[in-house]
Every structure is written in C-alpha cells, then in structure tokens.
C-alpha cells in the first residue's frame, strides 16, 4: 500500500472525499443562508429544518406516492420552497422593521416546532432511503474506490452552486436582487416589486436547503435531527466566508469540509473543533470574513 506523509493513500483520499461531501452540504446550505441574509437581513435559524424537510419530503414522495429520487430532486425543493414562502409571507415579513434578533428568535422557534412535529410523527431513530439504482456501486479510480453516489453529490452540489452564482451575478433578476440588497427602497422606487423579490429570495434559499436534503437522504438516514448536525458548522462557514458573500460561502464550504476530513486523518481528536478554530483565527485577522463585502 502506498503512503503519503506517513498515512496510507486510500485512507487519505477516502477522508478527503468524505470532506468534499460534507463540504458540498456546507456549501449548499451556507449559500442559501448567505443569500437570505443578504436580502432579508435575517439569520435563518430554521435553515437546518428546511434541509431536513427536503429529505423527509423525498422520503414521503417515495413511500406514500411511489415517486422516486430524480423527480424528488425537483419536486421536494419546490414543495419545501413553497412552505418557506408561506412562512415568509405570514410570519417573517412582519419582522423586517425590527432588530435582527427578532428574526433570529422567530426562525429558531420555527425550527423547534418543525423538528418537534417530525419527531412526534416519525421518531428520531431515522429511516433509510435507498441510493437510486443507477448511482449504486463504486468506481475504481486507480488510487481508491469511489462510491458513485458520493461523486454524484459533489458534482450535483457544484452544479447547483454554479447555477445559483450565475442566477445572482449574471442575470437581470440577480442584478435587481443585488441592488435591493444595497438599497431596497430605491429599487422599489424604480418600479421593482421588492416585497415579492424578498419572498422569492427566501423561497429560493429554502429550496436550496431542501435540494441538499434530498441529496443527503441516501447518505445519512432521514431523521428529524439531521439538519442540526450540519447547521452549527454551516453558521461557522457563513461567518468565515463573510456574511452575505456567495462565492465566499461556496469556497469556504468545500474548503472547510476538506480541512475537517484531513484533520480526521492527521489529528482526529480535533476534527470536531477544527472548523471553529479556523473561525476564530479568521475573525481575528479579518472580522468581515474571508470574502466579506464592506457593509
């Protein structure tokens, strides 16, 4: 067996791949959080719950309606995004004139209620969701065996992050969104329906979380707490990347996933805390985060 820095190659590559997978979820989740924060100025503590709902909705579609994985990749984000839009219109939109803290408290409360409801009906032990047939199996890459589904998750996450980046940076709708993030009243005075844009943005961020949830369903069991395991790290990613920065979220998400994976190989004791260590160092050196815009 070949060795790299005193570590067996396959072990190293295996952990890097696991890190990339976790990073893919960090990237998609922090991207949605960043977009929502930029536009709505709220820290969406319910983001992990929307991720979990994405997984649950795809499980329900499969078990109650016989709708499989690939249609779920489209349907679950639409369904969960619609739920997000409903919550934004009925609850969150009432808080925009108040301090950040109220939005944080409301979404935190929403996540407790949603997670509690799912725990009540489905328990917390978790339910399996099978990898779809075509994505089953493993590919020999020469230096390691890669489970095909894991490669698919990384590719799908990259594609979705890239599509989100294009939508925000390269389209006229994205230009309106960026402008409204800077000065919403003025954009509205140009004739743009800003409240509707805000609602759509929230729905889009939520849909991204739900998409990540569908991708996660076959890897982690579908359970009411699955979002909680990610969300702490995701908040750290958003802070490190710079609140509201899109590219920052994506690069930091993948980067931290890999750093975590490498830490598992070289110093496993620190693997749970390394992200927060990075956060402290970055905040000391660059309080706005690595990619933060001036506010």
């Amino acid at each position: 067996m070949f060795m790299i820095l005193g570590v067996p190659g396959p072990l190293l590559f295996g952990q890097v791949l696991l890190g990339l997978i976790n990073g893919a979820f960090y990237a998609m989740l922090s991207l949605g959080l960043a977009v929502i924060f930029g536009m709505l100025n709220i820290i969406n503590f319910a983001h992990g719950s929307f991720f979990m709902m994405g997984a649950f909705v795809s499980w329900m579609l499969l078990n109650y309606l016989g709708i499989g994985y690939f249609p779920s990749l489209i349907l679950a984000p639409i369904i969960v995004g619609a739920i997000g839009i409903l919550l934004e219109k009925t609850l969150i939109s009432r808080l925009y004139k108040l301090d950040h803290l109220y939005g944080l408290l409301l979404t935190f409360g929403m996540s407790l209620v949603v997670n509690g409801l799912f725990r009540n009906y489905y328990g917390s032990s978790g339910m399996p969701y099978d990898i779809p047939g075509v994505l089953n199996g493993a590919q020999n890459l020469g230096f390691m065996y890669m489970p095909i589904y894991r490669g698919w998750v990384v590719v799908a996450a990259l594609v979705v992050c890239l599509a989100t980046w294009i939508a925000i940076e390269k389209t006229s709708l994205g230009a309106r969104l960026r402008a409204a993030t800077e000065n919403a009243p003025m954009v509205q005075a140009f004739g743009v329906n800003v409240p509707r844009l805000v609602t759509l943005t929230f729905g889009g961020g939520v849909a991204l979380a739900a998409f990540a949830g569908v991708l996660a369903a076959p890897i982690y069991s579908v359970n009411p707490n699955m979002g909680d395991n990610f969300i702490n790290t995701v908040f750290a990613v958003v802070v490190i990347g710079g609140m509201g920065s899109i590219i920052g979220s994506v690069i930091t998400g993948f980067g931290l996933g890999v750093i975590e994976g490498l830490t598992k190989v070289f110093y496993p004791q620190a693997s749970a805390t390394v992200v927060f260590l990075v956060m402290v160092i970055v905040l000391l050196a660059r309080p706005r985060g690595l990619f933060g815009r001036m506010v």
Binding site: A179, P185, F190, G191, V192
Partner: protein
C-alpha cells in the same frame, strides 16, 4: 388615468402633477406642512430653497419613500397617496435621488438597465449613449461606484430616461460637480425637455436653474412660499436672494 389628460396644453385645467396640502413625516418629525404646487406637461419646474427646507422630502414623498404622508398628490388624475413606490414608478415617474444611488455591486450597464420599463416612449440605449458619450466608454466597468462623481450623476439620469417615465424628479443633479459637467447636465435637461419629458428639478444653484427652467417654486420650513416664472427672475432677484439667504 383620466382619458385625454395627455397632450393637454401646458396651463390647461389639469396639471400633470398636482400637489396639494402635502404633509410628510419621518418617524415623529413632521417635515412638510402643507406643500402646494403643480407641474404642467412639458415644463421644467424647480424647487429652490435653503438646506433643510424640505425639497428632498417633497420628492421622496411623491415617490412614496417617506414614513408617512398626507394630503394629495395627483399624477395625471391618479392619487398617489397610499400607493406603493413600485406602483408610483409604473404610473410613469422616474426618480434621480440626491445621493445618486449608484449600486456598487452592479456594473455600469447593469445600473443602466436596472429600472424596469414602465411605459413605451423611453430613450433607447444608443440615444442615451449619444447624450452621455462617457457612459458608452465606461459601460463595461464592473463596479459602477468606480465612476467619477460626474459620470455617476449622468448614469443616475440616464437610468430613468430609458424607462418611459414622462415625469422626471431630479434632486440636485449638479451638486458638487465641475462647471463643464454642470453645463453638460444643463444641455441634457434642455434636450430631454425638447423630447417632451417633464422635469421637476431641485437646485441650490439658481443661476443654473434659470438656464433650464420655466418656473421656480421657493420652499421654506416645509411649505411653498412663492412661485416665480423664469421670465420674472431678473426683476425679482433681490427677493430670491433674500429667500435663499445668499
């Protein structure tokens, strides 16, 4: 919108914009105390007055950008009190604010194309570039706030010429700009007037205002205190100096 209001000769029975008894508040502070004035189609009308008189607040009130407003703002017969800012823009009013509101996260072209078209009859991009050749040269600048102050002002005006809005509110477009840029903006206002736009202009510099405007309203402490037709400006210069404290 009332039928036939368009094309009515200036000074006809209904003005394009009629503001009556307008009151406005920012939070608890009561800023406008019954503002009355009107603008006829095709006119260039200025609001003159000292700093803090309420000129900017009047424009923001027309756009629905103040905390609370009361009274009446009729645009082509439609009452705009209680209407959301985006609907006001779609009624056909374009706003170029005092702080210019150029967006730094947008390119020059994105800033130019940002306001949605609200009616037919706006200038096309080629005509806009002919009016402001600098903007053509700077079109690909990725961060519009990198433009000079004068270029940003041109962009802020150009942006609302595209949309088909027929009434333009320009808040101190010459503030802090070099004389040659002020002249260029003056020529632009004359040119857009020729093209049938109607302009409500806030100005500190009444010498500049006299070169472009048909009438002047003087504001003080949140009220209109006088109206001076441009032709009478020379004979009433002393009075105006008194109003403006210059």
């Amino acid at each position: 919108m009332r039928e036939g209001s368009e094309g009515r000769p200036a000074g006809g029975e209904a003005a394009m914009l009629e503001v009556a008894g307008l009151n406005a508040w920012y939070g608890e502070s009561h800023i406008l105390h019954g503002v009355d004035f009107s603008v006829n189609e095709g006119e260039v009308v200025t609001l003159l007055g000292r700093n803090g008189a309420g000129k900017t607040t009047t424009m923001k009130s027309i756009m629905g950008l103040v905390g609370r407003r009361a009274g009446s703002i009729r645009y082509r017969g439609q009452d705009l009190i209680g209407v959301a800012p985006n609907r006001i823009a779609h009624a056909g009013i374009g706003f170029c604010p005092e702080e210019r509101a150029i967006f730094g996260s947008l390119s020059v072209t994105e800033n130019l194309m940002l306001p949605p078209v609200v009616a037919p009859g706006g200038l096309d991009v080629e005509t806009i570039y002919a009016l402001f050749p600098n903007l053509r040269e700077r079109a690909s600048t990725a961060q519009a706030t990198k433009l000079s102050g004068g270029e940003q002002q041109m962009l802020a005006i150009a942006r609302i010429l595209r949309t088909g809005a027929k009434l333009l509110l320009l808040d101190e477009p010459t503030e802090g700009l070099a004389p040659v840029i002020v002249q260029q903006i003056g020529r632009t206002i004359q040119e857009i007037k020729k093209r049938g736009f109607t302009v409500l202009l806030v100005e500190q510099n009444f010498r500049f205002a006299a070169t472009v405007a048909d009438r002047h309203y003087v504001m003080e402490h949140g009220r209109i205190i006088d109206m001076i037709p441009n032709a009478e400006l020379p004979s009433r210069m002393e009075k105006l100096h008194e109003y403006l404290g210059v």
